[in-house]
Symmetry: C2
Amino acid sequence: MRYFTDYRDHVGSSPTRFFKTTLFQSPRILVGMDCLEPGQSQEAHVHTGRDKCYFVIEGTGTFTIGEETCKVSEDMVVWAPADVIHSVVNTGSQRLVMLIGMAPEPG
Amino acid sequence: MRYFTDYRDHVGSSPTRFFKTTLFQSPRILVGMDCLEPGQSQEAHVHTGRDKCYFVIEGTGTFTIGEETCKVSEDMVVWAPADVIHSVVNTGSQRLVMLIGMAPEPG
C-alpha cells in the first residue's frame, strides 16, 4: 500500500534531538512526524519560502510563532508561515507527537 | 491568535454535499477540513499538479487512490498524489472528519 499508513507506525524518539521522519514527499510537500520527548524542543528558526503546519496528536507543549505564544494539546492545528520565526518545546510529561506538512518540501 | 486553532471549531456538515472549510492558506498550501456525513462521498477526481494529504481524525470510510482501495479509520494518513485519481466514501455510521493539506493551494 503506497498511499495509506497509520501515524502510530512512525512515532519514534531520539535521546539527543527531537525525532522526525517522512511519511510522504513530493517536490510540492513533505508530510511527516515530529516527536519531542519531555523537555525537548525545536529552537527558534525560520523556513525560508516554506510554510509548515503542525497537527498535535498526542501530548502538550508551548509554541511561539512570531509574536504569539500558545500552549497546545491534542486536536490543535498550528500554522508557521514562511519566513516567520517559530519554536516549540514539550512542556508536558509525555511524548509530544505531531503530524506535519511543509510546502514546498525542503529537499 | 492567527496561528493556532482547534480542529473541533471547524467541523461541520452539509446535507447536499460533503462539508469543507479552510483553516490556513498560502500560495503554497491549503490546510482545511473535509467532513463527510454517513453515505456522503468525494467522487473519483484528480487534482492536476496538486498533492493532497488526508489525516483521518474521526469516523471510518473507504478510499480508493489509483489502484489501491483501503478501509480507513482514525489515525490513518492518506496520500493522493498529483494527477492520481482518488475517491472516498463514508461507509460508517458517524461523521468522517479529516484534516487535509493540498499543495500548492487550488486558488
